[in-house]
Structure formats: structure tokens, C-alpha cells
């Protein structure tokens, strides 16, 4: 819908089709609000003048019970139905905001007091500045290593809390290049108001060359392989292991049956829980022997490990 609407003239320039649609909804709601406010203001002034205590206005007529009921139900009902339209439209946008498209460029985000750490799939890292290509869906996979933060991109009209202990998502497709504000919107302590930076939207070519110059040649998944090796994961999950542990190749994105009979989607959050809270979603048919790595593995390593597990082809048991 947003795509076919022109950009509204006022306010902050919208940076995506979603943001443009948001502006229409927002200013539509402003207009609707005025439609409710003006009659009340007019009525108050009119009544205050006409029925001022010294005025000789006719006060004899009394409204009938029936028309009073009609009046009251209409002024309660009609505004409610009108605003329900806003509820539906906003709800549709909310679902869109919450549903990242498949195949988006995934960038890992770690919030910590008081900085944002970003890591691109190729392993390029940056702090407080986020480079993204224009015209391509970008999905941020976010977690916090201390308190709750919230990643806020005003030009895109989106934000999402970044919560310790789990992954949350935010996605967008920027339609203009340029530099825009990036902020922390959830109060997180002393330097909360300094925990911001910029979102830099570049053309695809510029993004590629930025990636090429940004250092690290080791991709996230390759770095994950190193973490995998260092933590001795192959001791149990490897092909040569005698220990009965699940095969990790091709696991990502499948449904897993847990020991207590639930079906769980093996997404980032699932793999994270398997490493830090091994008993939570233990796979059916496997003994509870997975050690708990919560104290020993950092958020950054977790992200690499997940990227690595994700990259494994079905059946692989490295």
C-alpha cells in the first residue's frame, strides 16, 4: 500500500515504503482527532455564551429519553467505529513490522551499556554506525549483553526492544541513500542518551566496496567454526563421536520434537537456548548430557556459532 502513496509533505522524511505508509496513517489519525476535537471545542464555547447565566436563552425544552439514548449511543458508537478503522490499519502495519521477509540480509546486533555493536554476515564489525544497502530487505537479529535496550530508527518509523537472553528482530527496506539517526529508546542507565549513532544507507555498489574495505575477511560462519572447535563441540556432535548427540547439519529452520513432547522451531533463539539453557528444549531421544555454556560463551561468540550451525549442510557432522 505504502508503495503507491506519495510522500506526505510534513515531518521527518520517510526512508521506506513502510515509513511512508506510516505517515499516512499518522496524519490520517491526526485529522480524525481534529474531527473529534473541533466539535467539542465549538460546543463548549457556543454553550458557554448562549447559556451564560445572565442570558435570556430559552431553557424550557427538555430532550426526550429516547432521543437522549440515540444521541448518547451515537456519540459513543460512531467515533469508536471510526477509530476501529485506525486499529485495523495499524494492526496490519504491526504484523508487517513483526514479519521479516525470507532472504533478507541478516545483520547481528548486540546492545551493551552504552554502545551498539553490529556484525555483517561477512564478519565485518562496526560500532554505533550501521551500513546497509539501499533497496534490499535488511533483518537485524538483536540481543543485549546486559540490560534491555531498544533500537530505534526514526526515519524508518520502527523500533524494537533488545532483550538480554533472547533474540528479537527488526527489518526494513530502505529506499533512499543517506545518513540517518539511530538511537537507543529504552532507558538503560547513565549514558542512555549517548547510546546512538547513524544508519548509513548506501547504493549496493558502495555497500559492497565498504564491505571489502571494512577489514575482516573471515565470515561470521567461518568465525563460528573456530568457536565450535575451541569449545570442543565436535567431541559430542562430531561424526566420530561415540556420544549420542543430535546432528547439527540442516537443523536450522526445522521443527524439533522435544523430550517433553513439544514441537519447537529451530531458529536463532532455539539454538541459543540449547547452548545456554540446555534442558529447556532437549531433543526427544537424547540424554540430558549437554553442558551449560551460559557462563563461558559470549554473546558475540553465540552469534558466530549460530551462523556456523546455520551454514552446515543437511547431515553434516563436523
Amino acid at each position: 500500500m505504502g508503495a503507491i502513496l506519495p510522500t506526505p509533505p510534513i515531518g521527518l522524511t520517510p526512508l521506506s515504503a513502510y515509513a511512508a505508509e506510516y505517515d499516512w496513517l499518522f496524519f490520517g489519525m491526526c485529522l480524525l482527532s481534529l474531527c473529534f476535537m473541533v466539535p467539542i471545542a465549538v460546543a463548549i464555547v457556543y454553550f458557554a455564551v448562549k447559556y451564560h447565566k445572565d442570558s435570556k436563552a430559552d431553557r424550557s425544552e427538555r430532550i426526550s429519553r429516547r432521543s437522549r439514548l440515540i444521541l448518547e449511543s451515537s456519540w459513543a458508537g460512531i467515533p469508536f467505529l471510526l477509530t476501529l478503522g485506525v486499529f485495523v490499519w495499524a494492526g496490519k502495519m504491526y504484523v508487517e513490522w513483526a514479519t521479516p521477509p525470507k532472504g533478507a540480509l541478516e545483520i547481528a546486533v548486540i546492545g551493551k551499556q552504552w554502545m551498539w555493536k553490529f556484525q555483517h554476515p561477512g564478519g565485518q564489525r562496526e560500532i554505533n554506525t550501521l551500513h546497509v544497502p539501499v533497496g534490499r530487505p535488511v533483518k537485524l537479529v538483536m540481543t543485549s549483553q546486559d540490560v534491555i535496550h531498544s533500537l530505534f530508527l526514526p526515519a524508518l518509523r520502527i523500533k524494537m526492544d533488545v532483550i538480554p537472553g533472547r533474540y528479537t528482530h527488526l527489518w526494513f527496506t530502505a529506499t533512499k541513500t543517506g545518513t540517518f539517526r539511530l538511537e537507543c529508546a529504552e532507558y538503560c542507565g547513565t549514558d542512555h542518551s549517548r547510546m546512538g549513532g547513524s544508519l548509513i544507507v548506501m547504493t549496493s555498489a558502495d555497500y559492497q566496496s565498504w564491505l571489502a574495505h571494512a577489514g575482516t575477511a573471515i565470515s561470521l560462519a567461518a568465525a563460528g567454526a573456530e568457536v565450535y572447535r575451541k569449545n570442543g563441540c565436535s567431541g559430542c556432535h562430531g561424526a566420530n563421536s561415540t556420544v549420542h548427540a543430535p546432528t547439527l547439519g540442516g537443523l536450522f529452520g526445522t521443527m524439533v520434537r522435544t523430550a517433553d513432547g513439544r514441537e519447537v522451531l529451530a531458529d536463532e533463539g532455539y539454538i541459543r537456548d540449547c547452548i545456554t539453557l540446555p534442558d529447556k528444549n532437549r531433543v526427544a531421544g537424547f540424554p540430558p548430557i549437554m553442558p551449560d555454556f551460559s557462563g563461558t560463551i559470549s554473546e558475540a561468540d553465540l552469534i558466530k556459532l549460530i551462523a556456523y550451525i546455520r551454514s552446515l549442510p543437511p547431515g553434516a557432522r563436523p
Binding site: 523430550a259 517433553d260 545456554t276 539453557l277 534442558d279 529447556k280 532437549r282 540430558p288 551449560d292
Partner: protein
């Protein structure tokens, strides 16, 4: 509220009005208390739901037989308290006294069981912040025990208040300051509170000891 003479306070017109006000006041207070415990139960429910395996492992650490005996003791105290209220309403002084003393004894017995449990659990390392190392590998099992100690502790404090109130009634009764059946409302109020605290345990017992077993 009702520690004065049965005479009617100036804001009331008749004694029945005052009685009804006292009764309603106590029920409203219990409604408030129910929400207080409700928040604890809600937290327990959430963690039972997100960490079934850890909650199962944690529940297995609790001494079920002690839990069941404690529950039976409290249920019995509810009945003795109800008998005390009944006897007080009929002005049977001795019967009231015996039932009240029985209630205090049962209440103390429950507290003794609970304190014994706590020591036992502390010895097993089940009090996560202190004592011997926590025996379970699941981090979320600690969540269970954190909530276990808070909920049983909060309940025990409420029960201790109840015991003091009932003991107060016993003393008033013995010293003759509790004229019955005129002051029956005092017994009734304490009784309502006591039974409410029992109901909290009626839910705590399955939530802590049974559902995740």
C-alpha cells in the same frame, strides 16, 4: 477495627450495620491479599510453562511427604477455626477456647514443618544464593527455588500473623475480655483471615509440589 466494646461507633446507626461493614471490610482486604499472592502464582505459572524440564527437576527435589503432611495440618486448622467461630457464635466459651488453642497448635505445627523443610533444603544446597552448591545443572531450576522461597516465606509470614491473632484471641478469652457471643465478630474476622491463608497454601501445595512432578 473491633477491639473496642461492642458498642456502636458514632458513624454507625445500628450494630448490624457495623457488623456488615466489618465483614465487608475484611473480605475486601482478602481480595487485595488474593491479588498479592496472585502475582506470585502468575510468575510461577509463567516459569512452569517456559521451563517445564527444569521445573520438573526442581520439583523432584522437594520433600513431597512433608508437603502433604503440612497441607493436611493446615486443612485441619481450617476446620478447627471454623468450629471456633461456630462455638463463639453460640456463646460456648469452653468449646471456643479449645478450638482456638487447637488452631494455634496446628498453625505452629505447620510452621515447624516448614522451617524443618527450609533447613533441609538449605542443607541440600537448594537455597541458591547461599549455602552448599546448588545440586541441579539447570539454571532455570534456580528460578523455581527463588520463587519457592519467596512464596513459602510470604505465606509463612501471613500464617505467623494469623497465629499471633488467634493466640491473642486465646489470651482475651482466658482473661475474660472476649465476651461471647457479643464479640463473636472478632473471632469471625480472625477466622476469615486464617482460612484465607489456608487457601493460599491449598494452591501453593500443588503449584510447588505437584504440577511439574
Amino acid at each position: 477495627m473491633s477491639d473496642a466494646l461492642p458498642a456502636v461507633h458514632e458513624q454507625y446507626q445500628v450494630a448490624t450495620q457495623q457488623l456488615a461493614a466489618d465483614r465487608l471490610g475484611l473480605w475486601v482486604f482478602l481480595a487485595s491479599e488474593a491479588m498479592l499472592f496472585g502475582a506470585v502464582f502468575f510468575s510461577l505459572a509463567v516459569y512452569h510453562y517456559i521451563h517445564p524440564a527444569a521445573m520438573h527437576a526442581a520439583t523432584d527435589q522437594l520433600d513431597l511427604s512433608m508437603g502433604a503432611v503440612g497441607t493436611a495440618v493446615l486443612l485441619s486448622s481450617s476446620t478447627t477455626m471454623a468450629l471456633a467461630v461456630k462455638a463463639a457464635g453460640e456463646g460456648r466459651r469452653w468449646e471456643t477456647l479449645v478450638a482456638l488453642i487447637g488452631t494455634v497448635v496446628l498453625g505452629l505445627a505447620f510452621e515447624a514443618i516448614k522451617v524443618h523443610d527450609w533447613f533441609d533444603e538449605f542443607g541440600k544446597g537448594l537455597y541458591p544464593p547461599a549455602g552448599p552448591p546448588f545440586p541441579l545443572p539447570q539454571p532455570a531450576a534456580r528460578l523455581f527455588f527463588h520463587l519457592y522461597f519467596v512464596s513459602t516465606g510470604l505465606h509463612a509470614v501471613h500464617l505467623a500473623v494469623g497465629i499471633l491473632l488467634v493466640a491473642g484471641l486465646v489470651i482475651m478469652q482466658v482473661s475474660g475480655r472476649l465476651t461471647l457471643p457479643e464479640r463473636m465478630v472478632t473471632v469471625e474476622m480472625v477466622g476469615l483471615y486464617w482460612q484465607f491463608v489456608d487457601i493460599v497454601w491449598i494452591f501453593l501445595y500443588p503449584t510447588l509440589y505437584l504440577v511439574s512432578r
